[in-house]
Symmetry: C2
Subunit: 380 residues, 2 copies
């Protein structure tokens, strides 16, 4: 056998030690509160240790507060936001099911793609990227299509910066006897979601946006009606890892082993959620809106145009049109190299057309808005 | 709207602060090296930040060293070991494919279950839990069954503590024109795996066992033949999150966005793998074997019987028969409460019959063996 010790000579310098202190103002991850990083240092214990089960219980209780729900089936999926999306779709869709996806952005298209992979007959209602849907058109689509039992849409489109109003659409969807699935990846903790108040049946998010934690967990909640759908499935969920009928037995009183939870990330999420609860949801939403307002004002003062009309702008994530003559990549590279600031380019249809600026969680602070505006003023 | 600040009054004490300093001697998670915990404190940067891409490159290079492979498609799945298992199965199985699963434990059964969920026609070759397979019986099963193109088995059965020899079986499987899928969750970094040397086509593991990191990532590697199978699929992988044809575009030179990687966990894995490389693979395997030997000797000196015959024992994970009259739960509870030591009970068929004792990664140390033996001596 080879002596693998010799390969140490070829080890590169340690790139973890070289990581720069970025100011994260992109679409996520956002800056992590130092309290959250400290929580990750808590000793790792077993995934069935009574001390860990208490942390899980705390996460569930705090998630219900942040989701504004009484839903029993409220937990965190052991993956990033995309895993949350897939858990929602995979568990609510069976082969042959008719599903209506309202899509006006990259992540709406992703939901449709996932639903197709899990065997749904997907109807897609589309709007130009950055616009929101009207309850009437959703109602008409529900009548025109093949009686879908599930309507999916993105509340906070990370690709466009639009915030979809949900109250009226929820009524229309429920009147048609369907369940409402909502992507709240870029809103939870930074803008009202209101699962019970609005009437959302399936809602998921990510830890690394407005909750101020590192990426790695996807909060998810199911209404009693969604649980009923889960329990009346004719076939098992194709994904074992994301099967909520198994996961709920681990997160519930049974504590049946399913997989080894990402222990340190659960500590991080617990601390991030405590910080949300301490600040208070409404105070936190107001902070996100106030700092977004500063940004919008400042960008317009620089002569820049915002992509989404003001009535439907998503406070945690702003899309600003790249001005004529500006070099998309060049500007972002200078922000990164000269100011350690990360903002992001456009995704999909909006690639090369907008920049995406996130003010989420610990990143939503007026001094960071000032810094970004000052940097842009010099670079542009 | 309700004022959610009020709910602060109902917040429980912080269970993260109350976490005890467990000595993790169960089947995983194992103790985390303090260097790994420090790495998790490195600043979170974006998942497409050039500084992060360097860390990803480092992880890939170090994973190839630990897997003992030149495979280009070597990466870490953004989930725990079960996600690695599912990524392996989901990408290698198409509906209608014949698959042979050799199962003599809980995780062999889990592979079969996943393959069925992804539409395979699964043949299962079974052995009593704790035994290993003979190349001849695998060869016979390959001839008897419906020409499977994939044979799956667990090298290191976490439920039984048996270590499956692979060299001969790999030859038999390849002679039949099939690919070999191997679960190395409880061996990688603690016992030889030798992907290229043995001829394993698909191999996965978990971060939280012999690699000494917290749970949250699943290393995975695919041979060129397995990549060819991936590229010649007739249908897309049902799971979007685990679709390797998309994931390889993020981990490869294209750097196409797929999902937001669990940044801090990737830092942790990078540091854990550096520690493995510094120690040297062979030295590390020898350490795991030496400490396991101390444990086996000590348990037998206490009059206890080991479940697996010595020739097929897995050094990182030992199963010991619960002696007549001993209270399974009561003994484990006393170890936890009086000594802060976690060992685990049996899983599945072996529940109530064995205890599972892990000596993995940072937990594989002679002083911890001494402590456990001393505690057991007092309690039993």
């Amino acid at each position: 056998m080879m002596v693998y010790n010799q390969s140490m000579n070829n080890l590169p310098d340690d790139p973890v030690l070289a990581l720069p202190p970025r100011i994260l103002l992109g679409p996520g991850p956002s800056l992590v509160d130092p309290r959250v990083q400290r929580a990750m240092l808590a000793p790792v214990v077993g995934h069935l240790d009574p001390a860990f089960l208490k942390v899980m219980d705390g996460v569930q209780q705090l998630l219900r507060l942040v989701f504004e729900t009484q839903n029993e089936l409220t937990l965190a999926i052991s993956g990033t936001g995309t895993a949350g999306m897939e858990a929602a779709v995979a568990n609510m869709v069976e082969p042959g099911d008719a599903v209506l996806v309202c899509s006006s952005g990259y992540f709406g298209e992703r939901i449709a793609e996932m639903a197709r992979r899990y065997g749904a007959r997907v109807e897609t209602l589309r709007r130009p990227w950055g616009q929101v849907f009207d309850p009437d058109e959703v109602s008409q689509a529900l009548q025109a299509t093949n009686r879908p039992r599930l309507v999916a849409l993105v509340q906070a489109e990370t690709s466009t910066g639009a915030l979809q109003p949900l109250e009226e659409i929820a009524r229309v969807v429920h009147a048609a006897g369907a369940l409402l699935l909502v992507d709240a990846v870029t809103s939870l903790g930074g803008a009202p979601v209101g699962v019970d108040r609005v009437g959302i049946d399936i809602c998921y998010s990510g830890s690394q946006k407005c909750l101020g934690c590192p990426p790695g967990l996807a909060p998810l909640t199911l209404s009693p009606a969604a649980v009923q759908k889960l329990e009346s499935r004719r076939s098992p969920v194709t994904s074992f890892y994301l099967d909520l009928s198994l996961l709920r037995r681990y997160w519930g009183p049974e504590r049946a082993y399913h997989h080894t939870a990402p222990i340190s990330m659960v500590y991080a999420l617990h601390e991030g959620l405590r910080i949300v609860a301490e600040e208070g949801l409404e105070v936190r939403w107001a902070r996100h809106l106030r700092n977004a307002g500063l940004l919008w004002q400042g960008l317009e003062a620089l002569g820049l145009e915002l992509h989404v009309e003001v009535a439907h702008r998503l406070p945690p994530l702003t899309t600003v049109c790249i001005p004529p003559g500006a070099d998309d990549l060049g500007v972002r590279r200078r922000l990164l190299d000269e100011y350690n600031i990360e903002i992001s380019g456009g995704l999909g249809e909006l690639k090369g057309k907008v920049w995406r600026i996130g003010l989420m969680g610990f990143s939503s602070r007026p001094e960071l808005v000032e810094l970004l505006l000052a940097a842009l003023r010099k670079i542009l």
